[in-house]
């Protein structure tokens, strides 16, 4: 609020006007998208919102605390499977969301600490490989825990997962709200939008808190941070736990939204995609991360049209658009690091650092 206090009355109302327009735009977005691009795009923006949450969660670990985590998708998987197991015919359970979501987040946080504890002493690249290994271990277990006791249903995954239901109001089917008929993707859109707003709020508050500053201090120079009285062990563990919590939450929402989970959805490429959102957008900068998440989710969908383009140009599809996607990601990651290492929307601090490094 102190920023607003310094503005004059006119400027103040302009800020509020912008905010109101933005809000209106966000509320109307699914309708605009459906009208212009088609129904399937509403699901895509839902997924984009989920990825924003994931990317913001990973941003805490990578962007703020500077701990490169390549196994982040493991927490997403834990949250998703938590929902899948507690609200599906797999065990015949159907617990309400206000039990499952916190439980999923808590278990994911526990896994975060579990991963963080043995890796506290490791430096950047080692940490990356260990976290990658951790992610793979979780995936291998999910993939194989169908025998002798069937827990995760193995590679087939879990189907018929109950959708989110808020006190009897199910988001899984078309509902009439205030005279409007809203389909399930629309309903999820508003839920996810709310969740993203919440996550952004938490991130902004964290960034400017003692903890946020401690994370940045550790990222910059761990020894100096320790000398300045920061309990580096606890603060690093907290970063892991926080990031994992967001991962677990998003995972639960994903399971309820998708109605189906399988180990396929939680492979290393997913972790790398989330990481590339942060890298492309701007590490440690919330608007940057959001931009990155949107671009990385939407561009591949747009690339699907290159299949049609190829058919028009050459009469046949030479490169499957789905394959092209990963190739372009690889190239984009390399190019970004070489030519714009701080990302599209870098945080002020990062920009300065890279400028110093170049000098």
């Amino acid at each position: 609020m102190n920023v607003l206090d310094t503005l004059t009355g006119k400027a103040k109302s302009r800020v509020w006007l912008t905010a109101a327009l933005l809000l209106l735009g966000l509320v109307l977005l699914p309708f605009l998208v459906e009208a212009s691009l088609g129904k399937s795009w509403v699901r895509i923006i839902d997924l984009a919102l989920l990825y924003i949450m994931l990317a913001l969660g990973l941003n805490i670990v990578v962007g703020y605390a500077g701990l490169l985590d390549l196994g982040y998708v493991a927490f997403y998987a834990v949250g998703a499977y938590c929902w899948a197991l507690l609200a599906s015919p797999q065990f015949g359970l159907n617990l309400p969301f206000w039990i499952i979501l916190p439980a999923g987040a808590a278990i994911a946080a526990l896994f975060g600490v579990l991963l963080g504890t043995p890796t506290l002493r490791l430096r950047g690249d080692y940490l990356a490989i260990v976290t990658l290994g951790f992610g793979e271990i979780i995936r291998i277990f999910i993939n194989n825990l169908n025998a002798p006791i069937n827990i995760t249903n193995g590679p087939q995954g879990i189907t018929l997962i109950e959708p989110m239901s808020i006190f009897g109001f199910s988001l899984g089917k078309t509902q009439d709200v205030l005279g409007l008929t809203l389909s399930s993707p629309h309903l999820y859109y508003y839920l996810f939008l709310l969740c993203v707003a919440l996550v952004v709020f938490v991130c902004v508050r964290l960034e400017n808190s003692r903890i946020g500053r401690a994370w940045v201090a550790i990222r910059e120079d761990e020894m100096a941070a320790a000398a300045a009285g920061i309990n580096t062990r606890n603060i690093k563990l907290l970063a892991f736990a926080m990031g994992a919590t967001f991962g677990g939450l998003s995972g639960g929402l994903f399971a309820s939204f998708q109605g189906f989970v399988s180990p396929e959805s939680f492979n290393l490429m997913e972790s790398i995609m989330i990481l590339s959102m942060i890298v492309l957008g701007g590490m440690g900068n919330i608007p940057g991360v959001i931009l990155g998440a949107i671009l990385v989710t939407v561009i591949p969908e747009a690339l699907r049209y290159t299949g049609d383009l190829q058919r028009v140009l050459f009469g046949q599809v030479y490169i499957d658009p789905a394959d092209l996607r990963m190739l372009l990601f690889g190239i984009a990651l390399v190019m970004m690091m070489l030519f714009r290492p701080a990302g599209l929307l870098p945080s002020k601090q990062r920009k300065r650092e890279f400028a110093e490094d170049a000098a």
Binding site: T119, V130, G133, V334, L338, P341
Partner: protein, 310 residues
């Protein structure tokens, strides 16, 4: 058939491949303190290129002796991978040598994805069969276990290559330059060592080893796949860490040891856990070893340099 002896032999063969790939990681790490994340993909490319050449040659001249065809494939794959390793260093690592540590790691991930997808676009998503009929088919019995000619060849070749590498590093001018650069790049440069050339040479040597390992692994399992480099690279990296990264003998020991741990682990995990976990958990051993070593003894079995803290 004795299961223990059999798994020991399988483990040693697998471990030889890990060791050769691990040497590539360790050589580069020793000099640049950088994990060449794309090294597994170099191995995969070696394997795929060799297979492509072998397949083409077999189609054109099926009368040639099998061993000549396979060796030709290998001899094409080695320089191809050398060129690839050199290019990776020039494109993805050299421009970022003084950038923050995360930067080269992310370019390395990017390069891995690019190589994987290029391989997939060229050779497709399916497994490519190694025409194993080209190779000698002999089987021998030792201590109640069987070992094939190919496996014997892998073991002998690995020992020979390791011996050659030790001589290269310890006895030649290039080796001395490499050791000097590893100790202190700036001082080495002042002494007239062309540090950039040494770094390129290191990548080239490591990539040649990767190409050989790639051909070995596809000959042993009879197949290759565009995704094979990922897991192979990770395991080889774990092997390098187990032995003590930056240490040549460590990479060799770590590779062999990891191969044996994996083979024995896969053979006995069912009995150990009362049937709860089966041999399809084979792949987690490497990660377990990696996490345990990094937690308990980050410098590895033979490493003198401790893993630097952040």
């Amino acid at each position: 058939m004795d299961i223990f002896a059999q798994q020991l032999i399988n483990g040693l063969v697998l471990g030889s491949v890990y060791a050769l790939v691990a040497l590539g990681y360790t050589l580069v790490y020793g000099i640049l303190e950088l994990i060449n994340f794309a090294h597994g993909e170099t191995t995969m490319m070696g394997s795929m290129i060799a297979l492509a050449v072998i397949g083409a040659l077999f189609g054109v001249a099926p009368d040639l002796p099998g061993i000549v065809i396979v060796l030709t494939g290998l001899l094409v794959a080695i320089p191809a991978c050398m060129l690839l390793g050199y290019s990776i260093e020039r494109v993805a690592y050299r421009p970022l040598r003084h950038a923050p540590r995360l930067a080269p790691l992310i370019t390395a991930i990017g390069i891995s994805i690019v190589l994987q997808n290029v391989a997939m676009l060229i050779w497709g998503k399916q497994y490519i069969a190694f025409p194993t009929t080209l190779l000698p088919q002999g089987r021998h019995e030792i201590l109640g276990a069987s070992i094939t000619d190919v496996q014997i060849a892998i073991l002998v070749l690995t020992v020979a290559i390791m011996a050659g590498l030790v001589i290269l590093v310890n006895r030649t001018r290039l080796g001395r330059a490499m050791r000097a650069t590893a100790q202190a790049p700036a001082v080495a440069q002042l002494m007239g060592v062309n540090v950039n050339a040494v770094i390129s040479a290191t990548f080239i040597i490591g990539s040649a080893l990767a190409a050989i390992a790639g051909v070995m692994v596809s000959a042993n399992y009879g197949q290759a796949h565009y995704y094979m480099g990922f897991l192979l690279g990770l395991k080889a990296f774990s092997a390098a860490v187990l032995g003590g990264i930056g240490n040549l003998a460590g990479a060799m020991l770590g590779g062999l040891l990891l191969g044996v741990i994996e083979a024995l682990g896969a053979g006995y995990i069912g009995d150990l856990t009362g049937g709860f976990l089966g041999s399809h958990y084979q792949d987690i051993f490497a990660f377990m070893v990696l996490i345990l070593v990094l937690t308990l003894k980050p410098s590895g079995l033979l490493g003198s340099k401790s893993v630097e803290r952040a």
